[in-house]
């Protein structure tokens, strides 16, 4: 059984005040096994983010199946589980990282990462310790740990975002261009942590603009243009759509 299998997925947006239905994507089929990392490539507007947001239920899927092999409920269709089940999976199993930081205001950087662990049931001590490790790994300056992230630079926000999602060691991690505004060194940090998560068995779906980053990291690449999965070392080629 695959960890995640998307079949016949389709999403439209109805914009009432324009009296318009906008088809965003359709006919999406792909699947991935436990511990695999698949990259999604395609033109701007081709629907890459829409797929990830629909898996996470930030968007309501219209059609198709999204079968996920959860540890809490067994195999479930993410398109149809209850809101409470989805919240449970978000808390314990499925992580989502985008280039935007969307957090409780007036909560310190340290507290945000700590809370991510506390809500999973870690003790205060363990959570505090793991949070510091994660912040240090992503080279967030210790001077910033006890300040509010609204004043952080784009790159700092992003690294915090990734730290919050990865400390939880999710089973399935969705990455929507998490390296978009990072310098080369920070990108390498992200790469390192992705490799580590993979070793620990995390399954990943990622969207990345720069193909170089994916090189040697992805097991498969799904091309939005051809609707085909490329497998193996030469991933990244054929992504010039």
């Amino acid at each position: 059984m695959a960890m995640l299998e998307i079949a016949g997925f389709e999403k439209r947006f109805t914009i009432h005040h324009l009296n318009k239905v906008m088809p965003a994507i359709k006919d999406i089929h792909f699947s991935l096994e436990t511990g695999e990392f698949i990259g999604i490539v395609g033109k701007s507007g081709s629907g890459k983010s829409t797929i990830l947001k629909s898996i996470y239920r930030t968007y309501l899927p219209d059609h198709g199946k999204m079968m996920y092999d959860s540890s809490a409920f067994g195999v479930v269709d993410l398109a149809h589980i209850t809101e409470r089940q989805m919240l449970h999976l978000r808390k314990y199993e499925i992580g989502y990282v985008s280039q935007f930081l969307n957090v409780m205001p007036r909560t310190t950087c340290r507290q945000l990462v700590t809370n991510a662990l506390l809500e999973m049931g870690s003790t205060e001590d363990v959570a505090g310790e793991e949070a510091e490790k994660a912040l240090a790994h992503f080279e967030i300056d210790p001077k910033l740990w006890d300040s509010y992230p609204n004043t952080f630079s784009g790159g700092e926000k992003l690294r915090l975002n990734i730290a919050m999602a990865t400390v939880k060691q999710p089973r399935l991690l969705l990455l929507d261009e998490p390296t978009a505004s990072l310098d080369q060194q920070s990108k390498m940090k992200v790469r390192e942590i992705i490799e580590k998560l993979k070793l620990n068995g995390t399954t990943l779906v990622g969207i990345f603009h720069d193909i170089e980053f994916m090189e040697g990291l992805c097991d498969k690449v799904y091309d939005m243009q051809t609707r085909k999965m490329a497998v193996g070392e030469k991933v990244g080629v054929g992504a010039e759509s």
């Binding site: 109805t14 009432h16 005040h17 930030t58 919240l87 205001p105 809370n115």
Partner: protein, 279 residues
């Protein structure tokens, strides 16, 4: 994971006025919003069903007049419902529609199982009692008798919501809006209720005070695991607090979902308008 809601509401209706032949059939679109232009009856809450789960914050958002406060007041037994059911998940009340209980039993639920923070602090506080006295009143209602203990509890609760020690004996009518709301929150929490209703707790407060009260609510949820219904016409408040959100319009639920989904992929025309006006 099979979980039971801690509060289950089914088909709740509340109207002001007795209706007429023009509006009695509620299926018809004969109302102007929630109002019958012939007899003047207001259908404030129409067929509302919802589930509140243990430890969650459920948001209710909707424009002015959509019935949010009326719904809270019905749940808190401040006013009688026209029809409907509500079930609380406690051993003593399993399977009992609490709207059908005697007023004494309802009072007991208010004293032991519910906390309420009103939109208008005048409804939640005795403005001419001291702040400590306000909390003691609720503690007495919940069965406390030890004066020293009650004073200590009151002070601890007021301290938790950052009311300075030297002002605790003051009457809340001297306080700012934000302080009054914080005293209300302390009072609502004094009986350790498993269920808390919060009606527009931050409305009318300036931004920094608002942030303060929101922090406090989040902290209460994290540390005490209390289930809350948070009502606001402000989507920003709902976004910060609620895991799941219900959207009301003209007394009805028109949409519900995970909060980020309601905000990023709103389905109903009214919700889209509400969300786009926020952006």
């Amino acid at each position: 994971m099979h979980e039971e809601p801690i509060l289950k509401v089914r088909n709740l209706r509340k109207q002001f006025g007795s209706g007429c032949s023009h509006c009695a059939n509620l299926d018809s679109n004969r109302l102007e919003k929630n109002y019958c232009t012939v007899c003047g009856t207001v259908y404030a809450v129409r067929d509302v069903s919802l589930d509140l789960y243990p430890g969650e914050i459920l948001g209710i958002v909707g424009e002015s007049g959509s019935g949010k406060s009326t719904l809270m007041q019905c749940l808190y037994f401040d006013t009688d419902v026209a029809s409907g059911e509500a079930y609380i998940q406690t051993p003593a009340l399993t399977g009992t529609n609490v709207f059908e209980l005697s007023s004494q039993q309802k009072r007991s639920i208010r004293n032991h199982d519910y906390g309420m923070v009103y939109q208008n602090p005048v409804h939640g506080l005795k403005m001419n009692f001291s702040s400590v006295g306000n909390i003691a009143e609720k503690l007495i209602a919940a069965g406390n008798r030890n004066v020293g203990e009650m004073e200590a509890t009151s002070k601890r609760l007021l301290g938790n919501v950052h009311i300075p020690l030297h002002r605790m004996k003051e009457e809340p009518r001297n306080f700012s809006g934000g302080m009054q709301q914080r005293v209300q929150i302390a009072k609502a929490l004094s009986n350790n209720p498993p269920i808390l209703f919060l009606d527009e707790v931050t409305t009318g407060l300036d931004l920094s005070v608002q942030a303060n009260v929101l922090d406090l609510i989040k902290k209460i949820q994290r540390e005490l695991g209390i289930s809350m219904i948070v009502v606001s016409h402000d989507l920003a408040v709902i976004r910060m607090l609620a895991d799941r959100t219900i959207v009301m319009l003209n007394g009805e639920i028109i949409e519900q979902g995970l909060t980020d989904q309601v905000l990023e992929d709103p389905q109903h025309a009214y919700t889209q308008q509400l969300v786009y006006s926020l952006l």
